[in-house]
Symmetry: C2
Subunit: 533 residues, 2 copies
């Protein structure tokens, strides 16, 4: 596939109906519209499926040539697509649609798989992860109960235990240790499920109408997913305590602060319910001290959930195992295998110590749900009772393929390579006196900033300077794409290394771009300074 020669796509209205030059040969041979069961015809699937595989392979092969982020303005694509759906497909609709994906859609995408994508956190992709999704989509089962697809349910039970083992999680969170896990879409769902389970347990103890007395806790660095979950679960905004963190603690949640906050709430007649601790916060990958936080929470019978959305993947490496010290006391733990463990979006694993609390809060029984005689009398898992949704996808297949085809050692190698690249980036930043590493790197995210020379206003102008720097870096043709954080009033650039295609050279090139843009920016400021002086 040829990458676009420029990022702005051409306006060509009525794309449904154009069949001009460059029409692939397959258009002519595409059979006419199918009816009935032909919508899932094996040979048609084979023919079009091979086209799709080649399309994706071509995309991967040319990935490095795309700008990571497109230069488009809102409405660019809407304006080019018909207002109404087609009544009838145009001839060769599938091939035409693939062409539009190539010519209209891909040029307007942010390419998360680009080796130069360093923004946010990675959306980790792999051949087996993508093909696991494809395989599950092809099988298209709905494993909401054991009976609704026994193998899908059992594979999920096996693979969450495998993953937990690979990540060195405490046995008590695994099925083999009396706990258990499930695969959801996102950490938002995982946190919400845990929170609702905790809420229902506590309300059963203290009285079911006392939701207004419950208090939940996090730090000012906890991902918004937690506050969103708390809001959805019916907690008043005032019932969510965000314990302030500081740079001296590397922005980790302080057990002493948590204890003081909880005690003040208890003194006020309120009931501590839930602590959301994080291993690897979104802004700076801070690690909250799990053991100490659990001890504080235990004094009040509060549930502790660990959100390891990003850094959970790193736990596959023994050298990071210490960050889960004390995790045998947590009530629940979640991580996104789609972020950094080659498992493609989406794949969030949630483990709980007491699955019965989850199913008590989220379970259902209705007559129309088919009882399977084989399942009767057995303690089967019906995953519909483990999450917010009833319908679910067969995510276990993908994760099983990833673990099986890479092995734990393969995943360690994958994570280790990124960590080494990040260490390399970090040391390049440290070696340049114009820059500062704002927070020591823990995993594969480097938080850094350009220092503002004293004569330009020092700290006062630093944030603005770095905002400009990020803009210029991201606007560089064939350059890296990064994002930012603002912690404790300090604006910084985030370079998150984790794209599967990223190699050492991309990291070096990225740093060169940052240095060059910084030099240019400082030169411009010098000129302005001299003019004004």
């Amino acid at each position: 596939m040829a990458p676009p020669s420029h990022c702005h796509i051409n306006a060509n209205n009525g794309v449904h109906h154009n069949s001009g030059g460059g029409v692939p040969a397959e258009t002519e041979t595409e059979p006419p519209l199918m009816q009935g069961s032909r919508h899932l015809d094996a040979e048609e699937f084979r023919r079009q499926g091979h086209q799709v595989v080649d399309f994706i392979a071509d995309y991967y092969a040319s990935m490095g040539d795309y700008p990571v982020h497109p230069n488009v303005t809102p409405g660019f694509l809407r304006r080019q697509l018909p207002v109404d759906p087609p009544s009838h497909p145009e001839p060769g609709a599938f091939a035409a649609a693939l062409r539009d994906v190539r010519d209209l859609i891909l040029p307007g995408m942010t390419h998360w798989q680009s080796p130069r994508h360093f923004a946010h956190f990675p959306a980790s992709s792999s051949t087996v992860g993508a093909l696991g999704e494809a395989l599950a989509a092809g099988i298209n089962a709905v494993p909401f109960t054991w009976a609704a697809s026994p193998a899908a349910t059992e594979l999920e039970m096996v693979v969450v235990d495998w993953l937990g083992k690979a990540l060195h999680l405490p046995e008590r969170l695994l099925f083999r240790g009396g706990g258990g896990g499930t695969l959801l879409g996102t950490s938002c769902e995982a946190i919400l499920c845990a929170l609702v389970a905790a809420r229902e347990r506590k309300l059963a103890e203290i009285g079911s109408r006392r939701i207004g007395d419950l208090v939940v806790y996090c730090s000012d660095q906890t991902h918004f997913a937690f506050r969103k979950a708390a809001r959805i679960a019916g907690f008043h905004r005032d019932s969510c305590r965000e314990v302030p963190t500081c740079r001296g603690d590397m922005f980790a949640l302080s057990p002493a602060e948590l204890r003081a906050t909880m005690e003040a709430d208890v003194d006020a007649g309120l009931v501590p319910l839930f602590v959301c601790a994080t291993i690897g916060t979104t802004q700076t990958t801070a690690v909250d001290p799990i053991r100490e936080l659990c001890a504080v929470a235990a004094a009040h019978g509060a549930w502790v959930h660990v959100d390891a959305a990003y850094a959970g993947s790193a736990l596959v490496c023994p050298e990071f195992r210490h960050v889960t010290d004390g995790a045998e006391a947590v009530d629940s733990f979640s991580m996104n295998a789609h972020k950094w463990l080659l498992a493609n979006n989406d794949c969030c694993a949630l483990w709980v110590r007491r699955p019965s609390l989850l199913t008590a809060a989220l379970g259902t029984e209705q007559e129309y749900i088919l009882k399977d005689t084989a399942a009767e009398g057995h303690d089967v898992v019906d995953y519909k009772d483990w999450s917010m949704t009833l319908t679910r996808r067969f995510r276990a297949l993908k994760l099983w393929l990833v673990l099986r085809c890479h092995g734990v050692e393969g995943l360690r190698g994958h994570i280790g390579a990124h960590v080494r690249m990040a260490a390399s980036f970090e040391s390049m930043v440290r070696d340049d006196a114009r820059f500062e590493v704002v927070v020591p790197r823990q995993f594969a995210l480097v938080c850094f900033r350009l220092l503002s020379p004293e004569k330009f206003g020092g700290e006062k102008t630093a944030n603005e300077l770095n905002r400009r720097l990020l803009e210029e870096v991201n606007a560089t043709v064939s350059g890296p794409y990064m994002s930012s954080a603002n912690v404790g009033g300090v604006y910084m650039l985030r370079c998150a290394i984790g794209s599967t295609l990223t190699e050492e050279r991309h990291v070096h090139e990225a740093w060169k771009v940052v240095q060059n843009r910084a030099a240019s920016l400082l030169r411009k400021m010098e000129i302005i300074y001299n003019v004004l002086a």
Copy 2:
């Protein structure tokens, strides 16, 4: 692919390490474990991707030969898989894994794509639906904001308008009419989002601490998804009114009953918040009268959501348009395109009349979320603020492919064919005096039962008789797979026609099996009766 010759799979422990007979040729040529960026190598993807496409195509080709539901007992698969993940992949891991999918996993699945799958509701699959999923998984973007993947966000905006138009929804629910839609995973999520938006709006009016005074309404036929959503959203069980329905009303929610219930609540100082109406209930596809329910709700400022999870797909046919009469007054509307519209699991569309209410309840703003300069000053949609989750998949691509490659007329043909088959099944039931159609068919679900002869106890034994009948039907080798409902104390069989591969002959064969099993059952009862008499 050869289907399994029997449903019980062979116990062959340590499946990771077997590489005995029948190893496909590709094993020998599979290159050794890749490192780093090789995990997403274009040529490796191409090679393995073609294997997966052929695997799925072979599965479709042999689908009719699988028993719909496997004859397995709990633990059958867990016992055959290693307890721990592999440290290193075995040689030819990918090919070996595919063999295990074929030999261990598929024989333990319920085959939702079987032409003889008539249970629950369909999980509608199509070539373009499955390949749309594959394509999105290959691209693997995370379109949580416009900037995070502009084309993905805009395609979603276009395609929800297309779908709404195709389903004859009121313009005010579409972007073009001032509303707007989004693609979520399931109806559970859609209902929860709408409920939280309604709750936040109402609490802003009446006082943010009054969640305990709010009341939500549904019928005794409303899907459990609603009660689950209400529970998650912090509503007390006593705050959910399930209005009883009756057979005379075809189990629809009665506006008069709703009005009386709401007025009683208001008299008790409570605040009506939310009505969940259904078009096509899960048990019998009852249709609640939207216009009248909206009028009742409007008197109390209550939000009306329409859950058309299943029957929403049928709205593509003009002959069903009347079931949405009055929908211009609803606040939100959702349907699952993955149920019956060829869009593969998962794909739930949610439309709201006032998107600002959704984003006010679910929105977030944080510094680390990259602002795109191109988006500044534009009224862009950031879909993370439209749902419970931040991370999301690029579902729009699949739905766009489905609409484009089938066209609205193609989808009408698809739905129409199933409706005709269901009508055919229904008339066969009616033509057999031993049976009864319990509720007149509305879409493509037939609810029926075997009448219990008076001498066997009539009504008193009818439920047990039909339970036995369903068990025997589902246990028939190469037979259909159906589910049941229990409404108003009447147990009935459900024959939901909607599998893409189902043809008229499968429906006729299914009916023959039901007749034969019923005849056999009645004979057995006759013998027992005579012995006892």
